[in-house]
């Protein structure tokens, strides 16, 4: 019965995702720090604090028209981001997190066997989130949360050679305030013992920001994301190794220029994410994740992610002993 219920939940989630993919119009991406994969809710328990240092390497080298990948290698963008994520569990119900970024946006153009590289870098936008755990017990957790992305990143970086503003997609910030809503669900021991399910939906409402030295108002499209993932912790030689696999659906509405639709923006993406997290003791762990798009259906022509690598280290600080870890270590 339990398995049937779990299957039912997963089916509903997928239906929700599929429904979204067929109902929307258009959408898209780019600019500032890549926050898409880093807006999930905190996992810290009451009274504990964690610090995650994350390195996010995003290779955008795929030129896509609709759902067709072009054999076009003229232009590649590399976004390298260092993120610090702080999480604090205030009570069993309430937790807070903050995401601080440093971004390096580089563009490589290959033409006639000559490469032209331009980059912009600096402190990116900051995200502060709060969450409320509707349910929080050993086997199950359901949370909702909300947050704000503050436009702390610079949008005024210059190309020193030309003494001209860098293009907006090479600026470390977006200049825009965003508002984020998250709902997330975790359940342990689904299907069989030690297989854990996580699923969630994030919706990001963006606002317009000035571009080109105030000459234009540009608004990135709102973004809806849903994910379903499984992980299975394995205790191996005094380390807790947790392989995980996740499918993430992303829908971006089209961007707007001065209130009007911007061409070649928006669309649907499905990513497959594989990773492993290893805790060597209850206070320290590392993680490595690789993400590849497995499906696109984009508006017009877009340069989009070819692959993404994310590495991180985690430090947990406990105010009191945490029973779950005691069981393992």
């Amino acid at each position: 019965m339990k398995i049937m219920k779990t299957i039912g939940k997963i089916a509903l989630l997928f239906l929700m995702v599929l429904n979204a993919s067929f109902s929307f119009a258009q959408g898209c991406c780019s600019g500032g720090a890549p926050l898409s994969g880093n807006l999930d809710l905190a996992s810290t328990e009451a009274g504990s604090f964690s610090l995650r240092a994350i390195y996010d390497y995003n290779n955008l080298g795929s030129v896509v028209v609709g759902n067709k990948l072009l054999n076009d290698d003229t232009r590649t963008r590399l976004t390298k981001t260092g993120l610090i994520r702080l999480e604090y569990g205030l009570t069993k119900r309430w937790a807070f997190s903050g995401l601080f970024t440093f971004v390096r946006q580089a563009e490589k153009i290959s033409f006639n066997n000559i490469s032209n590289n331009v980059f912009g870098q600096g402190i990116g936008d900051i995200v502060l989130m709060s969450q409320f755990n509707i349910l929080n017990n050993v086997d199950r957790k359901a949370s909702i949360g909300g947050g704000i992305k503050f436009p702390t990143g610079s949008i005024g970086e210059f190309n020193e050679t030309l003494d001209l503003l860098l293009p907006p997609d090479l600026q470390p910030g977006t200049g825009a305030w965003d508002f984020i809503a998250v709902a997330q669900f975790l359940e342990n021991n689904v299907f069989f013992e030690n297989l854990n399910l996580s699923a969630g939906t994030t919706y990001r409402i963006t606002t317009a920001a000035p571009r080109f030295d105030q000459q234009q108002q540009y608004k990135f499209g709102n973004i809806l994301q849903s994910f379903v993932g499984f992980n299975r912790p394995i205790y191996l030689d005094k380390a807790l190794i947790t392989p995980q696999i996740t499918a993430r659906y992303r829908y971006a509405f089209h961007d707007q220029t001065n209130g009007f639709k911007t061409t070649n923006t928006g669309g649907h993406w499905v990513y497959l994410i594989g990773g492993v997290e290893t805790f060597f003791n209850k206070k320290f762990g590392i993680s490595l994740t690789a993400e590849v798009p497995v499906y696109w259906n984009l508006e017009g022509v877009q340069l989009t992610t070819t692959y993404k690598l994310i590495g991180g280290i985690v430090f947990n600080f406990y105010k009191k002993e945490e029973l779950e870890f005691e069981k393992v270590f």
Binding site: A20, F24, V65, I109, N116, D163, A183, F185, D213, N264
Partner: protein, 376 residues
């Protein structure tokens, strides 16, 4: 309890989903494609007698000086025959669309092409503020030009970087296919009749450059015999200009700098790295600052019209060496949506819809605009 929490979670997710379901309908205005035959307009601009031939249905407008090399001032009237013949004069000569006398006592002579090209109205309005209109619509704006920045011939703050240099790759080794009406029917030639193309004839060779390809490359560095030229097309301003690419006595190539001025492409030359304004037809920054281009007149019209003008033109092929999808227009409905611009401009002249295609004639640095409606 379990069911309750799952229900809450799903309800929240669905709420977010429904909240995000907002659609916007694009505003599309059709191109001006009213039926009608060619018309000839004789006019005077900056003291120069000119003749402009236009056809709204076939989507062409082209302008010449009315004074021949020997100083004779000609009077033209439209000649309603099959293309390429479009007008006759009082001496009994028949003239074709490319300005050649094809019958009559002056057969073989050619009218002097005017520095003119078609572009979106907004581009003409901002690059030549206060541009005169043939239909007499007065300019009532009070635009004041900002002073140029040091090292530039224009205000640098108005130059926008939208891509890295060569982010839009120019075609340096263009390949052509000779069109043949008979075989093309079987082969399913890749251009549709209604598509706009740029055409030019040099030393008897006619070359056609489809918008469908130029949208992705913006510049073609080409040559016919010993004449080396660059043809550039800016999809944002809808302007096509061709010029001699000889610099300091030897041919060079031009690339796309990734910069825009009033939305208009800024090519750079690979000899000196200097940057040039396509519509201003001059070097705006770099070693060659202040130098002028040597423009060559092109004829922009539909592929169907060009087929009527020339039997076997050479057409730029999609074998460009780049993995682009030439069946897709990366600018979507931009060219027919008058509601907004992709990039800011210094002056937004509201006398006409922004994306209306007009022919601008430039004499003594001043411009005059002709609309397709003027030829209906």
């Amino acid at each position: 309890m379990k069911k309750q929490y799952s229900f809450i979670f799903l309800t929240l997710s669905l709420s977010i989903f429904f909240f995000s379901c907002k659609k916007e309908a694009p505003i599309i205005t059709p191109l001006n494609t009213t039926d009608g035959s060619s018309k000839v307009i004789q006019d005077d601009f900056e003291g120069t007698p000119i003749v402009v031939i236009g056809n709204s249905r076939n989507q062409f407008m082209i302008a010449y000086e009315r004074t021949l090399e020997d100083g004779t001032l000609m009077d033209f009237t439209v000649e309603q025959r099959a293309l390429p013949i479009v007008m006759k004069d009082t001496e009994g000569n028949l003239w074709d669309l490319e300005g050649h006398a094809v019958e009559g006592p002056r057969s073989g002579e050619r009218l002097k092409p005017l520095n003119s090209y078609i572009g979106f109205w907004f581009a003409w309005g901002t690059m030549f503020p206060g541009i005169e209109m043939y239909d007499g619509t007065p300019y009532t704006g009070n635009f004041v030009q900002e002073p140029p920045s040091q090292g530039w011939t224009l205000p640098k703050e108005r130059v926008l970087t939208v891509l890295g240099q060569d982010g839009i790759p120019a075609i340096d080794e263009p390949k052509f296919e000779t069109f043949n009406l008979r075989t093309s029917i079987d082969d399913g030639f890749f251009i549709d009749d209604h598509e706009l193309v740029i055409g030019v004839t040099v030393n008897g060779t006619t070359r056609i450059y489809p918008h469908a390809i130029l949208n992705w490359h913006e510049i073609v560095n080409d040559r016919i015999d010993d004449f080396y030229f660059s043809l550039s097309f800016c999809p944002i301003t809808g302007t096509a200009i061709m010029w001699d690419r000889t610099i300091n006595g030897s041919p060079t190539t031009f690339g796309v700098s990734g910069l825009l001025y009033n939305g208009n492409v800024i090519p750079y030359d690979r000899e000196t790295g200097s940057r040039w304004s396509q519509m201003k037809q001059s070097c705006i920054n770099g070693n060659l600052i202040g130098d002028e281009m040597s423009p060559v007149q092109v004829l922009e019209t539909t592929w169907a019209t060009w087929k009527l003008l020339k039997g076997s033109p050479e057409v730029l092929t999609t074998d460009t060496g780049f993995g682009k999808d030439y069946t897709t227009n990366p600018y979507e409905n931009y060219i027919v949506d008058h509601s907004h611009l992709s990039y800011p401009v210094e002056y937004d002249d509201d006398r006409l819809p922004r994306k209306e295609r007009v022919l601008g004639i430039i004499i003594n640095g001043k411009a005059k605009a002709f609309r397709f409606k003027d030829f209906e």
